[in-house]
Amino acid sequence: MKIKLLKSLVVIGAFLCFGFIQAQEVTGTVSDVNGPLPGASVLVKGTTTGTQTDFDGNFTLNADSDATLVFSYIGFLTQEIAVNGQSTINVVLQEDAQALEEVVVVGYGSQAKKEITSAVTSVGEEEFNKGVVNDPASLLQGKVAGLSIYNKGGNPNEDPVVRLRGISTIGANSEPLVIVDGVVGASLNNVDPNDIASINVLKDGSAAAIYGTRGSSGVILVTTKTGGAGGTSVDYNGQFSLASPARLLPVMSGDEFAAAGGVDLGSRTDWLDLVTITAATKINNVAVSGGDGNSNFRVSANFREAQGILYNSGFKQYNTRANFSTRTFNDKLRIDFDASYTKRNSNFSFTEGLRYGLLYNPTAPVLGADSPFQFDSETYGGYFETLGLFDSFNPVSIVQQGTNQGSKDEFTYSANFKYNLTDAWDLTALFSQQSSKILNSGYAPTTLLYLGNASSPTRKGLAQLYTEERNFKLFELYTSYNTSIGESTNLSLTGGYSWQQQNQFDYFLSAGGFPNNKLQYLNALEWSTDLDNAGFANYGSNNWPNDRIIAFFGRASATINNAIFVNASLRREGSSRFGEGNKWGLFPSVGVGVDLNQYLELNNVNLFKVRLGYGVTGALPPTFGLSQPQYQDDGSRLSAVPSLEPNPDLKWEEKAETNLGIEFATNRFSGTLDLYTRDVSDFILLATIETSQSVTGANQQYQNAGKLQTKGLELSLNYDVVKQDNLSYNTGLNFTTYKSTLKEFITPQEMRANLGSPGQNSTEMIRVKVGEEIGQIWGPVFTGEVVDGSQVLADVNGDGTLNTGQDQALAEDGDFAILGNGIPDFELGWSNQLTIGRFDVNAFFRGAFGHSLVNTFRAFYEPRVGSQGSYNFVNTKYADPSITNAQFSSLYVEKADFFKLDNLTIGYNFDIGENKYIKGVRLNVSGQNLFTITGYTGADPEPQLVDIGENTGGAFNALGSDPLAPGIDRRNNYFSARTYAVGLNINF
């Protein structure tokens, strides 16, 4: 990534006297040693008058005869030339050696790339994922070694799971810390992907330690686009795409189902076809940017209208962002002001529509009128329902009758003041505020069986509301000082203070019992008969305490002989979430880098750097109030009963990470290798306590529960295969592998992740064991033999007795085994960029290998369970019709290695010649998720890095997630889509 450092103009005390000055036309050519420079900026000094050179480097503008012209271009030294009455001025710009050196944004400042001693990856706009990208994280999917981004199924209303170097924390927040234009902890949802100039990922502890507590899961630094000097330009991007389900789990057709002994209800219905659509997405972005030598601005508006492949799901989003920057007080003060606002209206629909779409009896009719027996259609809004069956609902009725929507408003602004006390010493103050509001509402009408209880004679219909208001304030003050020690050593010092506070207020209510469907539920809560019947209406409220993080930090960087680089930082940070005496933690880091090429002077080698970093970061507990006793209503409003055993001794979870990196580059080839080991100690987890020792009687408590070690390797390679004027081909590969091992834990081993209802509760599928890898899927082993409808399970330990009951899972004589691991052995990203004349082609392939998934759809619905004959049967290649009852085993655990063409984009830059209004036009077509090679029979072989739990319950999105239980493909996952898009970019 390159950041153009705005060169300030020195204001000379010349006062213009308009009466005597004659305006005149000046023409000329701007070139470098190789020839003309198109797009160079020419500015009349002290004014906003300016222009850009055309394709041949020519310019024309009007200037006063005594004016001074400022010529600038990225990567070149700015030149000033007095007009002095000349009508032709030709300029040859000199390359700026310093500016060409990449500058990388790091915590509280930026550094030249070569000075960095930690694992930092920069991804610029040109490397971002192409096609339809609705969230910023997805721009990076597969692009950064060590950064795993998965939105399993691709539900447009869900944020992807982002994990850096695997599991970095367990009980705490495992999403990386996001910093948008210096605002620590900013919301990524309030940034439109089109407004992002670059993203830096701080991967290791030595880079992240300056951010202290929240740096454990890595840091993602987002830099948004800003205006450039020289005239105003307008950029338009438009995109239209169509998506359809890419892979679906095979189920039986109506005929197959009837033949397999299913109850034939007379119709033949393809339920999945009825609940999915070809989803259209429209994206329009307009950005206006400009500036002069002192100030610049960029304002953008982004409109997105996205449909999901699930009927009636999707969102409409409007986002605007304004970035403004100026210098004043003799250029000593620089002010940056950014503001952004996002409004999103979502239709979540019901992912249960997909689940029941798979499972509903394929011989059932859609409408009650087509029922094979007498059926009271009116009660169910005209739809058919299989009454009296457990967990069986007409999916078309759900998605067509039900409402599940939400709106979200996010507003962020930040003001950054940087004052240069001297040339070497500056002071920065940053203030930022973010506020967000959520209003989610759902309604199951009186005629909907699912949630709406349509079969009830008394209480039909259910309305649910959730609203949340969140405020975040950040204030930071820091100072930097640069100096030299002797001739060969440069020293840079930074120190500061950071204060942030988060507040949240939320409440929810649900009420049912509506008279009919003639009312709009949001307008008619007063009709709920719950007002007459105690105990049905449900509501609650929650107001956070002031949730604060306060820190003091400092960093010293030294450059010796321009070849040896040393960085050290220290952060002392406190959080209100801990008890007295445990609030503060200390997080140090140190890193050393050596540019070996300065000594070896290898031929044709531009870079050969070795670096070693060590850093300690922390992790906050997942919520507040854990050190204090908390009580809740006993359900009768008579007394308060404990909700959680407090832990006043809870202390910071710490992650110590050592990273060794090697960077190598020639003119055409570059590569980076990182090796790391990280120890997460005192990780915070909700743990079972000895109930008799609980003061409150609650049997769970947040504890510093153990130690986790991850070792990993990341390799990135990039090669310019062809590099000619009209033909270029670049290919890049990144490779990631890691293993996480549990080193210490509160118990020697335990089981997690319940399979769930119906029939498979108390069936936990993941073993967590000291000394073993994270992510072990653990269960009985199917021998392949079926007797009397039951799987014959293996006597794993060969002791002659079969102990496969779930309560024997961890017993010494239990017959359980490792059935797979939810975490991939390695992940690959392979990018290809081909340019032929005005055409460019981007192809990006991605894969993950070695991981397994529990295919829960199969575990529940592949057995030909007689007594549930009204469900459809999953019918993959593994289906064995002789199995007639459900039992979790190795049969339902599948290898899920995959390799896919994630994205293929073909673009064309039109030759528009010398057009007065339009500077450039580009058209592109792209396809996403074009093919996937995998043996997995489920809908999506992507790894499931955290367990999302059994069920969403329908109304609102899922609750917590468990990073100790990866590898479970749950029934409420969305189905992945294949997308074709066409995009247009016009630059005015």
Binding site: T386, G388, F390, S456, T458, R459, Y497, A534, G535, N542, N543, P545, N546, I550, F552, S576, R577, K583, G625, P629, Q630, Y631, Q632, D634, G635, S636, R637, L638, S639, A640, V641, A687, I689, T691, S692, Q693, S694, T696, G697, N699, I746, P758, G759, Q760, T763, G805, Q806, D807, A809, A811, F860, P863, G866, S867, G869, S870, Y871, N885, Q887, F888
Partner: protein
């Protein structure tokens, strides 16, 4: 430079002022200590959640102690006995085999329900200890000590060796079963104001008093607990205390003023009467009223747990036992789960004409609210009508969805929610009659001593005297009376029948008479808890 100095001074001032390092956490939404509402429950008139007095925190945690719901205390006491089972119905109710293991006595220390039952009792004990540490009046203290003793009696019964924690934060060593017995006995005697139970004891010194509030412990309730402790004392300690069991029960029967409900003295409107179904009686009488949704003022109940569909959750027999489609019988608010059913042999131990047979079970074809037959479209045998059969084809894996008589003793009201309104009796007069009968018989070594009381119980079920009267027939009679009240496991152990085979249970490991100490508790105890023998 002056500006610079000012800026620096300002910053320094900012940083070192205390507000800039203030990390206090003042929780807004939840109280920092337990408290009792200032407004007593308005719902108390109809049962509700019981009184909102100073003791409510402990009694409400006791309500959560798994007395009448799925997955904890009630479930392990019941499913490990020959009363009932949770069968695997193909894709439903396998649940990792835990209920199959419970039936077959092949459960182990990792069993989830065994862990839940432990936690449920200790959570309630913690609430007792917390209240006692805060100071109560004499009656309150006596009640909470009695409640705590009852909870330890349950732990002694289930696990034997447990820690006797009597104040918050205590960590005593794991006690022997004898020590727990001694503690429970001495606590109960102490709150009764006596040193021993006898036929001539004087309870005038007890702070418990004789007020009749079914949701609070009076001296009759404490005596009832003690009679149960003594009845099983030989199992717990090796020493029989049968005479004391009989004396304690006798005192309540003779002095308590409680009434054994029969068809003439207990008549209540039937809350489950479907207007369109003529066979539904208008009124419930006798035995049925003791367990009905409107049983809050049953004169037979000495001490019960308040359950209420609105304000006191914790009784879910409707959901646990009935078929999905039985929702339409009474038009329940939600769909039942089709889990628990009575074992065929147990059902058949009732003779025809035994009033309790119809009351305790639901069998036969089922009618919906409007009186039409209920259909089960998923039926694979071609019989669409929902018809509960007493026989069950198998325990697993493909048990019939309609197999087994359903639990119906705690009967239903129309439009019932998944939380039932029925209160759960802990001490009731009918039980005490049988305890006195058995105590006297065992003390004398003569089962004929049991005849008067056991025949009183049979008479109100419209049955003649028990004949022959012996250990086995007495056990069977007690089983019929106490079905679904979570005492069957205890009774089988006391009668030496817990190792016997029944239905699909063949395991005869003697150590299964004690549940294992839950493995998660051992793991969390730093070696201070050790496992029971045999596990």
């Amino acid at each position: 430079m002056k500006n610079i100095r000012n800026v620096i001074m300002m910053c320094a001032g900012l940083l070192f002022s205390s507000s800039c390092t203030n990390l206090d956490e003042n929780l807004l939404g939840s109280p920092a200590e337990p408290f009792v509402s200032d407004i007593p429950s308005a719902a108390f008139e109809g049962g509700g959640a019981g009184p909102g007095d100073a003791l409510a925190p402990a009694y409400s945690q006791f309500r959560n102690a798994g007395n009448a719901n799925h997955g904890g205390y009630w479930s392990i006491q019941s499913v490990s006995s020959d009363e009932m089972a949770v069968t695997q119905k193909g894709g439903d109710w396998y649940d990792g085999g835990i209920w199959i293991d419970m039936h077959r006595h092949t459960f182990g220390p990792a069993s989830g329900p065994v862990d839940s039952a432990w936690n449920q009792q200790y959570t309630a004990i913690a609430a007792c200890n917390d209240l006692l540490a805060g100071g109560l009046d004499a009656n309150g203290e006596a009640q909470i000590r009695a409640l705590r003793a009852y909870l330890y009696y349950r732990l002694m019964d289930l696990y034997g060796r447990v820690k006797i924690v009597t104040s918050p934060g205590d960590n005593p060593p794991q006690a022997t079963r004898q020590q727990v017995f001694d503690f429970v006995e001495s606590e109960l005697l102490d709150v009764l104001g006596i040193t021993a139970v006898s036929s001539s004891m004087d309870l005038s010194g007890s702070a418990l008093g004789t007020d009749k509030n079914p949701y609070r412990i009076n001296l009759f309730a404490a005596l009832g607990i003690l009679s149960k402790v003594y009845l099983n004392a030989e199992v717990y300690t090796g020493t029989g205390r049968y005479q004391e069991a009989a004396d304690a029960a006798s005192y309540v029967i003779d002095q308590g003023g409680y009434i054994l409900c029969d068809d003439s003295n207990c008549i209540k409107p039937n809350p489950g009467k479907r207007p369109a179904v003529d066979s539904d009686p208008e009124n419930l009488t006798g035995y049925a009223t003791v367990f009905a949704p409107n049983n809050q003022d049953s004169p037979e109940i000495i001490w019960s747990v308040a359950y209420d569909g609105v304000s006191a959750a914790g009784m879910n027999f409707n959901m646990m036992s009935l078929h999905y489609s039985s929702q339409f019988t009474w038009n329940f608010d939600s769909q039942p789960w089709n889990g628990y059913s009575a074992l065929e042999d147990f059902y058949n131990s009732y003779q025809d004409g035994d009033a309790r047979k119809e009351i305790n079970f639901l069998v036969g074809p089922q009618l919906d609210y409007g009186g039409s037959a209920i259909l089960d479209y998923a039926a694979t045998d071609g019989e669409l009508e929902l018809d509960y059969t007493p026989d069950i084809n198998e325990l697993e894996p493909n048990a019939s969805r309609k197999g087994g008589a359903r639990l119906n003793k705690f009967s239903h009201r129309l439009f019932e929610r998944n939380e039932m309104d029925n209160d759960m009796p802990i001490i009731r007069l009918g039980d005490l009659y049988l305890i006195r009968a058995e105590g006297m018989a065992r003390a004398a070594g003569d089962w004929n001593m049991a005849a008067p009381d056991v025949n009183t119980i049979r008479a109100r079920a419209n049955l003649g005297p028990l004949s022959p009267l012996n250990e086995d027939t007495f056990l069977a009679e007690r089983g019929r009376e106490m079905f679904q009240e979570a005492v069957r496991r205890q009774d089988l152990i006391r009668f030496g029948k817990f190792d016997d085979p029944w239905w699909e249970k063949t395991n005869n490991d003697a150590h299964k008479a004690l549940f294992p100490i839950p493995q998660p508790q051992i793991d969390a105890s730093n070696g201070t808890l050790t496992q029971n023998p045999g596990y």
